[in-house]
């Protein structure tokens, strides 16, 4: 970073970069969107008579959203660097230092700041925001389903709430560990001064912000009435809100790819001297596996939505059987992303808990190699299982058996992760903290999520269970019961390093028990109604499902209270919490060797690593 002084441009007065921030971005985004909207309204030809879809409106909507996107990214300053390169120049040293955001106070959080610590905090902020919104929508869903006759939300709005809750939470859970902790902690943990591509890091964050607006915009032009999976041909007959979903996914997919390339490169190239692969902490493996898995998956997601946009706006028929396409094409493209994606969410969360396990049991991680084999095995297999989401779609009944094999094989590497965690707990000295209890909670929840996954992977059983509330409960057990549990533990664990203050102990415990108990109440109720035959994504149900749904709703409210307690804990602890010592958990990874506030490039002298981070335990046995 600091050495980028060649071909620097003279900066007379204030550089353009210093004038740009989130407000200029919002302003330019809105202006561009309005201009593109007026222009396309004036110049786009009318649809031919008899056109059944809203082709022209779709074109206008998509173009306006593209206008927003280009305007926002220009306004935030993402294009300054590339533009300079086009001119054969680069940012000056001063400009780079400005982008790094040193001594800039809170304002740097509203800018295209390249410091990985700032990006990490920005990610944390947006993750909390996404969970707040997605959780709020979940509460609307559960309130509506509290009683069979109590549905007070219009079906169209309800469907849109379900879809928006789904996609918000998917995005929120994808970024919840690799975003805040992968950006803030990971470079320090490997002893690097920053990410390999600091500007790409800023880009990946601001892309998520840019993406959020089309999604919200979509809520006002018909909503996402298709569920988060947006199956075609339902999506091609959906209202204009669908275009918001398409734009959202396209931009988010780019963000994920950019972040994936950046994190992978950083870990491969920038580990401290002496940090061989055997000495690299397991959390790093989890982060890399997650983003590396996203690298091939998300381009396919991007592609699936581009074709969807073509079908809607240009009258193509990629997903329309009558026109020579097929809805099954969409399902394949979607799930080729969709299954690796659940491990994109899960692996870093579990790896984070593996990182904490030795710290809170004061003994070495059990079977480091097996942990890596497990992560690698899951990552590899997860690319080969997508069609288990399509067992009963009729696409290829002959392939059900092979996909059943690959799916059930995943239980073996998953079992390895259990072995590592249980083996680490065994004969440890338990230090009772919220992160430690989260490991037990993960084992409990992920065991239930995993075993119900075996039922679902079995084709004949899936013929009964597919598309029922049982599936919904199953993936909440894995993504929330396991994934979110790991993310919340990470928050409490790394909170001292990120804010300089300890997370309030009492609040962390209260929130932990409320969330975990509420979660298990809610989703056991949901398993029951699924088994009794309640389909997913319904806004009304037969009276026989009353009890189970009421239990789920009560559990959901308990989770909400727990999450609000946690949110209060984040705010109050960050403002007035106990000042944290340098290494409050007496952990051995590198991030605990730097003082708070962490200097711009983390280390004065780059560390040299001579052992792995798990050298706990005394006597040689």
């Amino acid at each position: 970073m600091t050495t980028l002084t060649h071909k620097s441009v003279a900066a007379p007065g204030k550089s353009i970069i210093e004038k740009l921030n989130v407000f200029t971005a919002l302003a330019l985004g809105v202006i561009t969107a309005v201009v593109v909207w007026r222009l396309s309204l004036a110049f786009l030809p009318q649809d031919a008579d008899g056109a059944t879809m809203f082709t022209r409106e779709d074109k206008i909507t998509l173009l306006s959203m593209c206008g927003w996107f280009v305007g926002f990214m220009t306004g935030i300053g993402a294009l300054v660097g590339p533009f300079r390169w086009l001119m054969g120049k680069d940012l000056s040293h001063d400009e780079n230092m400005f982008l790094a955001g040193q001594d800039m106070g809170p304002k740097r959080y509203l800018r295209y700041t390249t410091d990985h610590k700032v990006v990490g905090i920005q990610y944390l902020f947006i993750t909390i925001l996404i969970f707040f919104l997605g959780g709020g929508l979940a509460m609307l869903i559960r309130t509506n389903l509290g009683h069979a006759t109590g549905g007070w939300i219009h079906p169209q709005a309800y469907n849109s709430i379900v879809g928006t809750h789904g996609i918000l939470m998917i995005v929120g859970t994808i970024i919840m560990v690799t975003g805040p902790f992968g950006n803030f902690i990971m470079p320090i943990m490997i002893g690097a001064r920053d990410m390999a591509f600091p500007r790409l890091n800023a880009l990946s964050f601001w892309l998520i912000v840019a993406a959020a607006v089309p999604l919200m915009w979509g809520q006002f032009i018909g909503g996402i009435s298709t569920g988060w999976s947006a199956y075609n041909p339902l999506a091609s007959q959906a209202p204009l809100g669908m275009d918001g979903y398409i734009m959202y996914i396209c931009i988010f997919a780019v963000s994920t790819m950019v972040a994936g390339a950046n994190i992978t490169t950083t870990v491969v190239k920038m580990r401290a001297k002496g940090m061989t692969w055997n000495r690299t902490p397991i959390f790093i493996y989890g982060t890399v596996a997650s983003v590396a898995l996203a690298l091939p998956a998300f381009p396919v997601f991007f592609l699936s939505q581009v074709l969807s946009a073509f079908d809607r706006a240009l009258g193509t028929t990629f997903y329309n059987t009558a026109g020579g396409g097929s809805g099954w094409l969409y399902e394949n493209l979607f799930w080729i992303m969709g299954h690796p994606e659940v491990y994109v969410i899960l692996i870093p969360a579990i790896a984070a808990l593996m990182e904490m396990a030795p710290v809170f049991t004061r003994r070495p991680l059990f079977s480091f190699n097996v942990a890596i084999m497990g992560i690698a095995g899951i990552s590899g297999l997860s690319a080969l299982v997508w069609a288990h989401h399509m067992y009963i779609s009729g696409w290829a009944p002959l392939l059900n058996a092979p996909f059943m094999i690959t799916t059930e094989l995943i239980s073996i590497p998953t079992g390895m992760l259990f072995l590592v965690l249980v083996g680490t707990l065994w004969r440890g000295r338990l230090w009772m903290t919220m992160p430690l209890m989260s490991i037990f909670a993960l084992l409990w929840n992920f065991m239930i999520g995993g075993i119900t996954g075996i039922y679902l992977s079995d084709v004949p059983a899936d013929a009964f269970l597919h598309g029922s509330m049982y599936v919904t409960a199953h993936f909440h057990y894995t993504l929330m019961g396991a994934g979110l549990t790991g993310a919340l533990a990470s928050l409490v664990y790394w909170f001292p390093k990120m804010t300089g203050r300890m997370f309030d102990k009492t609040l962390s415990w209260v929130s932990f028990w409320l969330v975990q108990i509420g979660f298990n109440v809610a989703f056991v109720g949901m398993f029951a109604v699924g088994l009794a035959g309640q389909p997913r994504r319904v806004e009304s149900y037969a009276p026989t499902f009353n009890t189970g749904n009421l239990i789920t709703t009560i559990g959901a409210y308990t989770i909400m209270i727990g999450m609000l307690v946690l949110l209060y804990g984040v705010i109050s602890s960050a403002r007035t919490g106990v000042k944290a010592p340098k290494n409050p958990w007496q952990a051995k990874t590198l991030e605990w060797t730097v003082d708070y506030p962490i200097p711009l490039e983390n280390f004065d002298v780059l560390p040299i690593v001579t052992a792995d981070a798990y050298g706990y335990g005394k006597a040689k046995s």
Binding site: P155, N159, P233, L234, Q237, A322, G327, W328, T361, R362, R363, L365, S367, V370, S393, G394, A401, M404, I405, E408, S411, I412, G415, M416, L419, V422, W426, R427, G428, R429, W431, M432, F440, W444, I451, I454, Y455, D458, V459, P460, A461, A463, F464, H466, G467, F527, A528, L531, A532, G533, P535, R536, R537, A542, G615, Y616, G617, K618, A619, S621
Partner: protein, 256 residues
């Protein structure tokens, strides 16, 4: 199970925490297996076909197969949690060992999970194969199912058409399923069968109802505004009643 045998320490199975975990393992396995099976079987609808009975059986078998694994994890967690807990702001003393792995335990774990996985696969494959064969039965009653937003239509071989499904008891039926607009999913809840209705394609599934009664058909794939209300009934009746119903409706259809 992670202890290395050395002459100084007692043999690993004689250590108190191992004994405790072993006892807990038996208890946990029994509790998890029993509760798991009861939860599933009691929550599930009463079966109205052999397919559904088969599904319930599979759940029973899988739950019992998974119970020892879950039980072992549970037993070890309880053993750990009920000993050597440390509260406070500073870490406890470090553990009195630094065991980093146990090849034997790992090998055992992987082999056992491999065997369980194989067992689940074989069990599932056998049932899957039977289900696949049933679709080819040409002697079976053939019913065309058409989904459209937001009703089901059933067409019978003699030209009859209905929105409630009528089937004779104990006779195999093959459904040919398609859709007029978007994807739906044809689910006869109590018979344990489900197949998507895709526009432009025909998919098949088969079942033999074995109980007389009225059962539920629900759409299991989000299909738009009134997806939740896209349900109808299956009337499984005796052969004589079925024949009478079919003749009556074929006549109406022809007259219309």
């Amino acid at each position: 199970m992670v202890e290395v045998i050395t002459p100084q320490t007692p043999q690993w199975w004689k250590k108190p925490d191992v004994k405790k975990a072993a006892i807990l393992w038996v208890i946990c396995t029994a509790v998890i297996g029993f509760v798991g099976v009861e939860f599933h079987v009691r929550s599930m609808v009463r079966p109205a076909s052999e397919t559904m009975s088969g599904v319930i059986n599979l759940m029973r078998i899988f739950t019992w197969a998974a119970a020892p694994v879950a039980g072992l994890v549970g037993a070890m967690c309880i053993t750990v949690l009920t000993s050597k807990r440390h509260y406070g702001d500073n870490p406890p003393a470090e553990a009195d060992h630094e065991i980093r792995n146990s090849p034997r335990a790992t090998a055992l774990w992987v082999v056992v999970s491999g065997i369980l996985c194989l067992f689940a696969l074989v069990t599932g494959m056998i049932v899957l194969q039977q289900d696949n064969k049933a679709v080819l039965d040409t002697q079976a009653i053939q019913v065309n199912v058409t989904g459209q937003q937001w009703v089901w239509n059933f067409d019978y071989a003699n030209g009859a058409r209905s929105q409630d499904l009528y089937l004779p008891v104990n006779k195999p039926v093959v459904f040919h399923i398609t859709s007029k607009d978007v994807k739906h999913s044809f689910w006869i809840v109590q018979m344990g069968i489900k197949m998507d209705a895709n526009p432009g394609y025909t998919t098949e599934t088969a079942v033999t109802p074995d109980k007389i009664g009225v059962f539920d058909v629900r759409c299991a794939e989000l299909c738009g505004l009134l997806h939740a209300y896209m349900q109808t009934k299956v009337h499984v009746v005796s052969q004589a009643d079925y024949d009478a119903w079919l003749t009556a409706h074929a006549a109406t259809e022809a007259g219309a």
